[in-house]
């Protein structure tokens, strides 16, 4: 099907598919089993120039946008959701710098991220801060030419491997969301230490960490935008990155679906291929249809985001919501199609089901997505004629 992808996007798709097949497929099960960070696959993705596809050319990127990123993330996710999020989370950490950094900050940090030389992470979530983003408790106190950070972050993807982190802290708790401020923190800064690495249900190769800030002193030049811009920066970042999670979900669903079809075509019971039973056929049809609908919504959301359109927030929330719910449903059904074999760790489908679940939760739970969509729709209705 012709999705209207540009030549560059088609090249990215082909490259991501090739790297995934040759460098990720052979190791995905082992990385999942051992919960090891995918250093080699990430290196292969960097060598293929894929880390910089959404970054501007002056910083070593290719000047593409969210759609370029989605196309790559989808292909990687088709093979492994864990490697895909390790890759995509770099964009989450880089977008604040790209969108709100000054020229000096962009020139200092973006080239290493574009080349995959330094990984990146986004630090918002805390033990008491999930959906309620404005309640950030990590503090940033101005001290001359520095800020002093105190507090902790939880469940930060790439937290333990990132060289550059965008951290949200409050300069004034009393001001709530308006106190939130974004800062660039470099790994190895005194006062910044890593906490435990989480054991997860899925995306097990992804590095998910607790981060501690104990009188961590960072230069004031590392602040992004002004004090109080943090909430706006976080929301704008999520808007841009949300189609990417949608793409991750589409890819995971696609991978699971393909396994289900392959299995149904080979498995025989009652003297015939399981794919000839209507019950199975209808499941496959529903899976295929939902994946296609998700893909189109994700691609459109990416286009809206790249256009900075007024509907970008709404469509990007819709895409993340729909694609992630689809990924969960499709992976569960794909496992069902594979029957007992699907339940065995020897087959790749159970991992895909475990990987899919998180897409309904992170980067804004699907409940939050629904709230965002509802508010957008209600606001828009004022302009209906």
């Amino acid at each position: 099907m012709d999705y209207g992808l540009t030549e560059q996007q088609l090249m990215i798709k082909e490259l991501a598919r090739k790297v995934s097949k040759e460098k990720i497929l052979p190791v995905r099960a082992e990385l999942d089993e051992k919960e090891e960070f995918p250093y080699e696959p990430m290196k292969a993705l960097a060598e293929a120039d894929l880390f910089g596809i959404y970054l501007p050319e002056p910083y070593g990127g290719f000047g593409g946008g969210a759609l370029d990123l989605c196309v790559a993330v989808e292909e990687i996710s088709r093979v492994c959701g864990g490697v895909a999020v390790s890759f995509a989370a770099n964009a989450l950490g880089a977008y604040p710098i790209l969108l709100f950094g000054d020229e000096e900050q962009k020139r200092k940090y973006l080239p290493d991220i574009a080349a995959g030389r330094k990984f990146c992470a986004f630090g918002l979530t805390e033990p008491n801060v999930g959906s309620d983003a404005a309640a950030v408790a990590t503090t940033a106190k101005r001290d001359g030419e520095y800020y002093i950070l105190n507090g902790s972050k939880q469940w930060i993807t790439n937290g333990g491997v990132a060289g550059t982190l965008t951290i949200l802290a409050t300069v004034n708790k009393a001001r709530g969301a308006r106190g939130l401020t974004a800062f660039i923190v470099e790994a190895g800064t005194p006062g910044f230490t890593l906490g435990k690495k989480e054991k997860k249900l899925g995306i097990r190769c992804s590095d998910t960490r607790v981060l501690y800030f104990d009188n961590c002193r960072i230069p004031a030049a590392n602040r992004l935008g002004r004090e109080g811009d943090g909430f706006r920066i976080a929301m704008a970042t999520f808007d841009k990155a949300r189609p990417g999670i949608g793409a991750q979900a589409v890819g995971i669903a696609q991978g699971a679906f393909e396994e289900a079809v392959k299995f149904a075509k080979t498995r025989e019971q009652f003297g015939q291929k399981v794919s000839s039973f209507q019950a199975i056929q209808h499941m496959l049809a529903d899976m295929a249809t939902q994946i296609e609908a998700s893909r189109l919504l994700v691609y459109q959301a990416a286009r809206e985001v790249d256009r900075d359109s007024k509907e970008a927030s709404k469509v990007s929330a819709m895409a993340k919501l729909y694609a992630s719910d689809t990924a969960m449903k499709v992976t569960v059904d794909a496992l069902q199609v594979c029957g007992g074999s699907g339940y065995m760790r020897e087959y790749p489908v159970e991992k895909m089901m475990r990987d899919a679940k998180i897409t309904q939760i992170y980067e804004g739970t699907n409940q939050i997505q629904r709230s965002i969509i509802a508010l957008c729709v209600i606001r828009e209705s004022a302009n209906w004629k």
Binding site: E7, Q8, M11, I12, E14, L15, V19, K23, L50, I53
Partner: protein, 262 residues
């Protein structure tokens, strides 16, 4: 360094069928790839360029569709593409192919090294690399598994694979090397190389462009015919003579004299 890598586009063998009437491969509709052994030659050329600077020129003799193989080589890191394509080359055996390629290499001129894969997956003769060396009167080292030292313009020192181990050989440059798969792991394309491959121009040469006379190319220039293909039994025993060329020649003469062969 100016490095020339000779490649061949071959059918993807797992899908090949034989025409029952002519006993030849059915090539239509079968996907084509770069001969796998050639991908190692390309990678080695690119690594040498990264180390010593210069350029990697990919040369192939084939029909117009061989251009895709050349572009795949650029995706793998090569710089320039030359396609030797002419109806007059059709039906070439390894002698005619070696002649045509060496004529093209002569026209390129001023090169430091010629790299080839060990053999082509479809013909399996392994003769073209050696044939090129002969026509160009260059030193030949086959089955290279590692380049140990290289002084551009002067000499090269390599490890070659033998049946039961390896040899270390040295040669002046320029030289022709054929490589085995143990030499490296070819890289995957990158977005940069893919874009380069998309926009790069292929230089196409006909028989006249490389001064290849009709009698030496194509079917007319192909004295050989394939009679039988089989896997040879490995040889054992024999005696290895060591020393300088002069010392070895003396030893060999004495052996032959003892056996009343000279």
């Amino acid at each position: 360094m100016k490095i020339i890598v000779c490649i061949k586009q071959v059918p993807e063998v797992s899908e090949v069928k034989i025409n029952p009437v002519t006993n030849t491969l059915v090539r239509e509709g079968v996907p084509s790839i770069i001969n796998p052994f050639d991908t190692y030659a390309i990678e080695e050329g690119v690594r040498l360029r990264e180390k010593y600077g210069g350029s990697v020129i990919i040369l192939t003799m084939g029909p117009p569709q061989a251009e895709t193989a050349l572009r795949q080589a650029v995706e793998a890191g090569a710089d320039e593409m030359i396609l030797l394509s002419d109806r007059a080359f059709a039906g070439s055996d390894t002698l005619a192919t070696s002649f045509a390629l060496s004529s093209a290499i002569r026209k390129i001129g001023d090169y430091d090294l010629v790299l080839c894969g060990k053999q082509a997956m479809d013909g399996d003769t392994g003769q073209v690399g050696p044939g090129i060396a002969e026509f160009l009167d260059l030193p030949l080292i086959t089955y290279v598994k590692k380049i140990e030292e290289l002084e551009p313009g002067k000499r090269i020192r390599v490890e070659t694979m033998t049946d039961d181990g390896y040899d270390i050989l040295e040669s002046p440059l320029p030289a022709v090397l054929t490589v085995v798969k143990e030499i490296n792991i070819p890289r995957l394309p990158s977005l940069r190389t893919k874009m380069k491959a998309k926009s790069a121009r292929v230089t196409v040469w006909k028989a006249d462009d490389v001064a290849a006379p009709a009698g030496k190319i194509g079917l007319e220039g192909s004295p050989t015919a394939v009679w039988k293909i089989f896997i040879p039994k490995p040889r054992s025993g024999g005696q290895i003579l060591n020393g300088t060329t002069a010392e070895v020649a003396d030893q060999l003469y004495n052996h032959l004299k003892e056996r009343h062969l000279v």
